[in-house]
């Protein structure tokens, strides 16, 4: 049961229950708040910061900020969108994201949110890190160049698959995704192509093999409609939350 408590996002009334985060209530109401590391099936992480909103003069991440009755949330001002765009640009220059050469292009959440925030270029100086591609697994390839450290695979592997295949190692700008196997290679781990950890990757980092370009460019999930309508990359696997949007538009 939805209680009769409400708060406002950009002036629009949003009902919520006790214990809801701003993101929980917004998703349920079909109000889009851009996000990358959040997936309603998992505990909020709050690391990408793309869901930054302003309320009561403070900037907070919507995915882990509890909703409070009558709060006013700014989710779409130029100032908020500028912050989000800068965060997206930071993620783009941190890794090696070459959209035209990526199998995930058109169905990538990083790319879709970048379009949503009207990002036109990576803007900042590229880091061009040297990262590996691990194709040792017969059914899954992982391209670390495209990892945005959202930890969704870490959480899915730990909480759903119960395999603990993925971890984040290192600190600061040297943080990186690592594989928990004797050789550190994916082929040596317990991961399977049917694992949740493979399905939740919002970018082109973890890709199932043998099905490249199954869907042609032009027919991919974000090719014709923005992410605010289509919803998350991983939403189709589970979430009822965006089904309203998808079916009505």
């Amino acid at each position: 049961m939805i209680s009769d408590k409400t708060f406002r996002i950009d002036g629009k009334k949003i009902p919520f229950q006790d214990g809801d985060t701003i993101m929980d209530a917004a998703l349920r109401a079909g109000e889009y708040i851009p996000h990358l590391c959040h997936n309603p099936e998992f505990k909020p992480n709050g690391s990408c910061r793309v869901c930054v909103i302003e309320t009561n003069g403070r900037h907070v991440s919507a995915c882990n900020q509890p909703a409070i009755e009558n709060m006013e949330v700014d989710n779409s001002s130029d100032a908020i969108m500028n912050l989000r765009r800068s965060l997206l640009q930071m993620l783009f220059v941190e890794g090696n994201h070459v959209c035209p050469a990526c199998e995930k292009s058109g169905a990538c959440q990083l790319q879709a949110v970048a379009y949503y925030t009207r990002m036109l270029s990576p803007h900042f100086t590229h880091f061009f890190p040297c990262r590996d591609v691990d194709a040792t697994h017969p059914e899954i390839a992982i391209d670390f160049n495209r990892c945005i450290l959202c930890k969704l695979c870490v959480r899915a592997s730990r909480d759903v698959d119960k395999k603990n295949v993925f971890f984040i190692s290192g600190r600061g700008i040297n943080s990186r995704l690592v594989i928990n196997s004797p050789s550190g290679k994916l082929g040596d781990s317990d991961v399977a192509v049917t694992d949740k950890a493979v399905a939740v990757c919002p970018v082109g980092a973890i890709l199932p093999k043998h099905k490249g370009y199954e869907k042609p460019i032009g027919e991919r999930m974000y090719d014709n409609k923005p992410i605010s309508i289509v919803g998350d990359v991983a939403a189709k696997f589970s979430s009822k939350i965006y089904s309203k949007d998808v079916s009505t538009k």
Binding site: G46, S47, C48, R49, V50, V52, H59, S61, L83, S86, L87, M90, L91, V93, E94, F124, T125, F127, L149, I168, G170, R171, G172, I173, N174, S175
Partner: protein, 130 residues
């Protein structure tokens, strides 16, 4: 903090930005990436390669870090840069290369690998400063 007049404040800022870059846990985007971008820009200023555009960039990156970082470290990591840009702009502006655009890397030095591969070292294989 108290410094005597012999202290090079940009040296202090460089030290701070390197410190916060090193101390960042890497959890959130603005501190992990923004902090590193900030350190690189401070070093660009210190090396005499920066332009006024870079100073604006530092202000913007600092603003993103202050407003979006997950914890207090990220939210305050840009303060040494932002405070000195505000109170002691001279330590930056006196070191600027010029007011136009300047790339983040040395054009001539980045041709070195190509020179080695081709065995060339003539004038045409160099980009000289004007």
């Amino acid at each position: 903090m108290v410094f005597n007049q012999q202290r090079d404040l940009l040296d202090m800022v460089q030290n701070f930005s390197q410190f916060f870059c090193h101390e960042s846990c890497g959890f959130c985007t603005p501190c992990r990436v923004g902090g590193t971008l900030m350190r690189n820009l401070v070093e660009k200023v210190a090396a005499g390669h920066a332009t006024s555009y870079d100073l604006d960039e530092m202000k913007n990156i600092g603003l993103v870090m202050q407003n979006t970082a997950h914890c207090g470290l990220g939210a305050t990591a840009a303060n040494p840069v932002l405070n000195t840009l505000n109170k002691f702009p001279d330590i930056y502006t006196t070191r600027l290369a010029h007011t136009g655009y300047e790339p983040a890397f040395n054009l001539d030095a980045s041709l070195e690998i190509s020179r080695q591969i081709t065995g060339r070292d003539d004038e045409g294989a160099h980009i000289r400063d004007e």
